[in-house]
């Protein structure tokens, strides 16, 4: 039997759009900008992903979730590889992703140019509270519940919240 079905990149991407980040389930991996490429060679599908931080513990799980999602859709010959270069940046996060983050209660990353070179003891960047939209907030800690987040508190509504660091 000859299998003449041609697999398109678009259909693979539409499956990848259903795979979420286990640490931030509001975001899909395409929102996060960590899918770098999909290479199709006959019936072979290679998905290339890149980590957000070197030590991101979710990468192994994301790789197996990608395989699982594609297997469930009937694809068989799947390979997931990880590349480090070019280096991931929060600028690759989609606008849709930023909107979903905020809805989820996590402040989305500010544009990159603001932060990436901070002076010692510099005032923390102004981050908008995802709950009440106030800019009257302060940084509690530069390191938060996961490598990609910092801990903030709103001075108006008093709610603590995570900020997805610009990186």
């Amino acid at each position: 039997m000859v299998n003449t079905v041609i697999i398109s990149k678009e259909e693979i991407y539409s499956v990848l759009e259903t795979v979420t980040d286990p640490e931030v389930p509001a975001l899909t991996i395409t929102d996060l900008g960590i899918v770098r490429d999909v290479i199709i060679n006959g019936d072979e599908i290679a998905v290339v992903i890149t980590p957000t931080y070197s030590g991101c513990p979710a990468m192994d799980m994301i790789a197996s979730n990608i395989k699982l999602a594609l297997l469930e859709q009937g694809y068989k010959n799947i390979k997931v590889t990880s590349v480090l270069s070019p280096v991931w940046t929060t600028d690759w996060m989609s606008e849709e992703g930023k909107r979903k983050l905020k809805e989820f209660g996590i402040a989305p990353p500010n544009p990159k140019q603001q932060v990436c070179r901070q002076e010692l003891f510099a005032a923390a960047e102004a981050v908008q509270c995802p709950h009440c939209n106030s800019y009257h907030t302060h940084r509690v800690s530069e390191f938060g519940s996961t490598a990609c987040k910092a801990l903030y508190q709103c001075d108006d509504c008093r709610e603590p919240f995570d900020y997805f660091k610009c990186h």
Binding site: L84, C116, L120
Partner: protein, 261 residues
């Protein structure tokens, strides 16, 4: 290249392990999270280096037909076998990173002295011909910038804080300074890399001098130059502390070989 990659892997792994000892013991919750976040970044970097070293070792033993690793009977080398099944004398980490945590000040100072070096080293490494090492370094550089900033702020805060914190920082300098010289003395396997450690030393001295001055501390003279400096970590000659670290780190794989969860 294999040895150099292992040197980078071992150094980041051992510092990650040391920092992880603070988990649940940090002075306040936010700083506990900070030091363990740094530990996680370093662990991620070490995994990248170990994976690459494993690939290089497996490629070279395929082509030569012999096992490139001194440890016997490993078969296919993996990141795990490199971290869990090598002996103390095979580890090539810097002596600085295996030194005990001491108090918070000593941990902070160790982190600062190393991060400042690491930042300069990775800046050079990202322009290297070897694309994978360059990619790992470029990836790690942004994280390292956080570590430098966080640890410098703490060195200044404690050095320029109370008499007690100032005295403790001076004691930490006394404990750790003798291990800084090793960073700038190339081991034989480093010479094949195109990295100018003298240039890095100059910049490191200048940066450390600035931070120490702001922290009301005087850096001891002669990092890696005049003054007595310990060395040997890069070629597997360690202080007694590494054995204890490995005993804990490798315990599970030594007692239950191949255990997984």
């Amino acid at each position: 290249m294999i040895d150099y990659t292992l040197h980078l892997a071992d150094t980041t792994l051992i510092l990650a392990q040391r920092n992880a000892e603070w988990c649940g013991h940090g002075p306040i919750l936010e700083q506990d999270i900070a030091i363990t976040n740094i530990s996680l970044d370093l662990l991620g970097q070490s995994r990248n280096f170990y994976q690459y070293a494993a690939q290089l070792i497996n490629d070279s033993s395929k082509s030569s037909g012999s096992n490139a690793l001194p440890s016997e009977g490993l078969g296919e080398v993996t990141e795990d076998s490199l971290a869990y099944l090598r002996k103390e004398r095979e580890f090539k980490n810097l002596l600085l990173v295996e030194q005990p945590n001491g108090d918070w000040g000593q941990t902070i100072l160790r982190q600062y002295l190393y991060s400042q070096f690491q930042y300069l080293l990775y800046s050079e490494l990202q322009g290297q011909k070897d694309q994978q090492l360059a990619a790992i370094a470029a990836k790690a550089l942004k994280e390292t910038a956080y570590h430098v900033r966080w640890s410098s702020e703490w060195v200044i805060r404690l050095g320029d804080g109370t008499k007690e914190s100032h005295d403790r920082m001076l004691k930490a300098v006394d404990e750790l300074w003798r291990y800084t010289g090793e960073m700038f003395i190339p081991a034989s396997y480093e010479k094949e890399m195109n990295i100018d450690l003298n240039k890095i030393r100059e910049e490191w001295n200048k940066k450390v001098n600035d931070i120490f001055t702001e922290a009301s501390m005087i850096p001891p003279s002669g990092s890696g130059g005049a003054g007595f400096m310990q060395s040997g970590g890069k070629v597997g000659k360690h202080t007694e502390h590494l054995g204890y670290i490995l005993t804990e780190l490798q315990y599970l794989q030594r007692v239950y070989p191949g255990a997984q969860w």
